[in-house]
């Protein structure tokens, strides 16, 4: 009669899990039985999936992100969700001091504000200028061709020594007096994993909420601002992708010690200037975006929204992308996908209540119930 009234909900759940697992494994029955997808293959060949999942999962654990991708059959929302749930079981043992992104080991950095930047532009791995033509030769790629390309590339790789780090573009603007000086930090960073957002929230809470937001959600709201429901008009002062050293206090000496590195994307946008209310010089304003993994669209969207939210906090929100409650409470993938999915659960009781109200009001308005 219904999936509540029937006994055997447990059997139904087990059956659903089994058929999903069958879809994952059925290729094993092919004439040439397929190998299960290796975690390393996901880490390397589907690296942007891993980037997205570590970023939205909010835990830098690429291996578990790859595992989550494997078990969720490539569903990024599900994979980020599994990683987040795993994080709930881990106590927080320590916190890093603020990390210095000028120390990043870069694989890519560009500026669209200046042709020449100190240290130079470095395109690095990007599909930005690639033609999006389907590469039919990959349909049936041979292991030899696969290996040969990698080998040849390594042999011809430019050997010129790259600097360990690059100066930041914003520092140059700042020294010219075009940007406000860096404000001294007055509060410790807000920890969104240990404190709920009670509005108004500090900028650090806004930034960390956006850093683990769902990419598409962030992009959609940022895009609304770019198109006309807002007025940021950003210029990308610098976009950098690289490995950021993570420092923790040494357990005995307390000295900051490098414990590893995380791949991050960082974006700083500069937007049109504002007059200082106190009668000082007008200055450019900045938006900041950063997240785990190589996720450029996300970092740019975040930087634009950071700038929009700062304006909303100062002058009152003039559109959704400037409203901290609107942006921050609707960009989390785990929250939004969970709630959208929950509508698939039975709602018999509440619908019975709805029927009761509708029939009663219909009767009162003289229509047949």
């Amino acid at each position: 009669m219904s999936y509540v009234a029937i006994k055997g909900g447990g059997r139904a759940i087990a059956g659903a899990a089994a058929v999903t697992e069958f879809l994952r494994t059925e290729e094993g029955l092919s004439e040439i039985p397929a190998e299960p997808l290796g975690i390393d293959a996901i880490l390397h060949q589907l690296r942007h999936l891993v980037d997205r999942v570590v970023s939205e999962g909010g835990v830098y654990h690429p291996k578990f992100a790859a595992l989550a991708i494997k078990q969720s059959l490539g569903d990024t929302l599900e994979a980020a969700f599994a990683l987040r749930a795993w994080r709930s079981t881990r106590p927080r043992l320590s916190a890093t001091p603020p990390l210095d992104t000028s120390k990043m080991r870069l694989i890519r950095r560009i500026s669209s504000a200046f042709k020449e930047i100190p240290g130079g532009q470095m395109l690095g791995p990007t599909p930005d200028y690639a033609l999006r033509l389907l590469r039919m030769e990959l349909m049936d790629e041979s292991p030899d061709a696969f290996r040969d390309f990698a080998r040849t590339w390594l042999e011809t790789y430019p050997t010129a020594q790259l600097p360990d780090s690059f100066p930041k573009v914003l520092d140059a603007l700042r020294s010219e007096g075009l940007l406000p000086p860096v404000a001294g930090r007055t509060q410790a960073a807000f920890d969104i994993t240990r404190e709920p957002l009670v509005f108004p929230v500090p900028r650090s809470a806004q930034l960390s909420t956006m850093a683990r937001a769902e990419t598409g959600s962030l992009l959609a709201i940022a895009y609304s601002n770019m198109r006309g429901y807002g007025d940021v008009h950003p210029t990308v002062a610098e976009l950098r992708v690289g490995y950021l050293p993570v420092m923790l206090p040494h357990p005995i000496t307390g000295e900051p010690t490098e414990v590893g590195e995380v791949l991050v994307t960082e974006c700083e946008v500069v937007a049109m200037y504002e007059a200082d209310n106190a009668g000082g010089k007008p200055m450019f304003t900045i938006g900041y975006g950063a997240c785990f993994g190589h996720n450029e669209v996300k970092a740019i969207s975040m930087a634009i929204l950071d700038r929009a939210l700062q304006k909303g906090m100062k002058d009152g929100p003039a559109n959704p992308s400037e409203d901290p409650e609107f942006v921050l409470l609707h960009v989390d993938g785990v929250d939004s996908m969970g709630f959208a999915s929950h509508y698939k659960m039975p709602h018999y009781v509440t619908f019975q209540s709805d029927l009761d109200r509708l029939r009663t009001t219909q009767q009162k308005s003289g229509e047949p119930a």
Binding site: V4, F81, S88, P91, P196
Partner: protein, 299 residues
Amino acid sequence: MNALSHAQTGNAYNFGFLDEYAKKEVRRAILKAIAIPGYQVPYASREMPMGRGFGTGGLQLTLSLIGPNEVLKVIDQGSDDSVNAVNLRQFIEMTCPGVSTTTKTTECTLIQSRHRIPEQPLTSNQIIVLQVPYPDPLVVVEPSEDKRKTMHGEADYSRLLVKLYEDIVKFDEITISHRYPTRINGHYVIDPSPIPRWDVPKLDDSAALVLFGAGREKKIYAVPPHTKAEPLAFSDVPFRVEDFRDDQGRRHACTRCGCTDSFLDEFVTDAGGKTWQCSDSDWCEEQMLLARETEGEPA
């Protein structure tokens, strides 16, 4: 228990899945919620391994309260055997070794429920945890949480009352079917979770502690035992529960147990007719047992 002990044992999950710090946080929020009846206490809701909207708020309450000697009942839409109830129960059994589960309302010490409060009156030895999708009754009149917080603080529910009044003008009825706004202890108005209006009077002067957990919205609130809970209404338009009478004014009875004073689910039969059954499956079983006993048949 040492909060770190399980972190050091590798893969094994802690009793109750959450780490001990997280449980402590939730318990502190619960104590505050009990101390300020109806007030929505913000807390840092953790991600659980099931979807936001599937009861993660209730689950965090349950996992923070549960001990190895607990007798737990999990229901969804009044049924112990709905897929979501089964799923939650299995998860709790898996992560809380030693806990017993039951379907009998009279036997349990802790109930996690979605959309229903059992028909069997609860006792002072029981706690019921309700899963909450929308914790704030003011959300229908004010989208900003910041502004709603001020309205709650000032007990300013005028816009909510205007909404009820507008309903009466437009439809000659209050059209809120479930999640009926209810004033607790004379001040805060709560969203009692999507329980039907039928269940709202059970909150008033309840012997059991009623806890509400909203995981996605990161709020916990409570109706402590023997606290006043009044659904918003007007002196000339009283609050009314669901009406299960037919055209002739006769009360529909449950087709299984014959009960005429429980909340009913309506079914469309294959022949195109309609039948009604108790929404609370344990209540229905108990009524059938009782009927057999009074008829003197072997149970």
